[in-house]
């Protein structure tokens, strides 16, 4: 029986969309309000889906306490109430769009030892969400 268990988590953080590869004017025209030099924030929702065999003795794919502790340590602690551009090393090099944030969260959660990570969905607001399930076999992500 193919089952995915999904759990939703929340954190709040600020960011600024600004690319070192674009001129000031280009940054303004591409990112608009999101290019404000002081940054701005969101209440992010992170939906984490895992899969694996259901342990007959517990009825579970993985104990939620283990998943919660792992996500708390790998994502909530480092990201909550932070300025993503400065306080997350990866975003000193890349723009912290929610596309890149979703990929970064997926990469950090792939090490969950108790189940397979299926996908990560990040809601930047209630109206925007992004989903990443890793790259197809054999492909590499730039």
């Amino acid at each position: 029986m193919k089952l995915h268990l999904a759990r939703r988590y929340r954190f709040s953080a600020s960011h600024r969309l600004h690319s070192a590869q674009l001129s000031e004017e280009e940054n303004q025209s591409v990112y608009g309000k999101c290019n404000n030099p002081y940054g701005h924030g969101h209440n992010y929702v992170v939906e984490v889906a895992i899969s694996g065999p259901v342990d007959h003795s517990t009825g579970m794919i993985a104990n939620l306490a283990d998943l919660d502790a792992f996500v708390d340590r790998e994502i909530i602690e480092p990201f909550d109430h932070k300025y993503l551009n400065e306080e997350i090393a990866e975003f000193r090099e890349s723009v912290p769009t929610t596309e890149n944030l979703c990929i970064e969260i997926f990469n950090r959660l792939q090490g969950f030892p108790k189940a397979r990570l299926e996908r990560v969905r990040v809601e930047e607001t209630g109206l925007n969400s992004f989903e990443y399930a890793g790259e197809p076999e054999g492909a590499t992500h730039e």
């Binding site: 029986m1 193919k2 089952l3 995915h4 268990l5 999904a6 759990r7 939703r8 988590y9 889906a49 259901v54 007959h56 003795s57 517990t58 009825g59 579970m60 794919i61 104990n63 939620l64 306490a65 996908r119 989903e131």
Partner: protein, 147 residues
């Protein structure tokens, strides 16, 4: 192929307890869910059926028919029940979201004769849900849908 999703809600109580574990192990593994008096949830079930619309009716299947199947197979069995004691299909299993979703899949799958059951999504709370795709046949599952 079109994916049609119908949502229902039911409320039920349960507890997690494995008689093969010691009392201490049960508390450690299941935490608050091991409370012997049980506790409850408002479950939300989304059932997705995939198929091509019938050219004569424009429907994958008649929603009224799906509604009746969900009433009979799920609501009548599980709504306002103590899942551990009152749902025979769950006997001998811990009534986790994983196991309940799998039971619901097995109940619904043979009853859906127009189109085919694609996904059962069961929310235990708005922040915890399970997607069941049955015995995977290699077809790409539908991962979107209403929330």
């Amino acid at each position: 192929m079109v994916y049609l999703t119908r949502k229902i809600e039911f409320s039920a109580s349960h507890l997690y307890h494995n008689p093969a574990f010691t009392a201490e192990e049960n508390r450690r593994v299941f935490g608050k869910c091991n409370n012997p008096h049980g506790h409850g949830h408002n479950y939300v079930l989304e059932v997705t059926v995939a198929g091509d619309p019938d050219p004569a009716t424009g429907m994958v299947l008649d929603l009224k028919e799906l509604k009746e199947i969900l009433q009979r197979e799920v609501t009548d069995r599980m709504d306002h029940r103590f899942l551990n004691y009152e749902v025979p299909e769950l006997a001998g299993q811990i009534p986790t979201c994983e196991n309940i979703a799998a039971v619901i899949w097995r109940l619904l799958e043979p009853k859906i004769t127009r189109g085919h059951l694609n996904r059962v999504r069961l929310y235990e709370t708005p922040d915890l849900f399970v997607d069941c795709y049955g015995e995977s046949n290699g077809a790409a599952p539908h991962s979107g849908g209403a929330r």
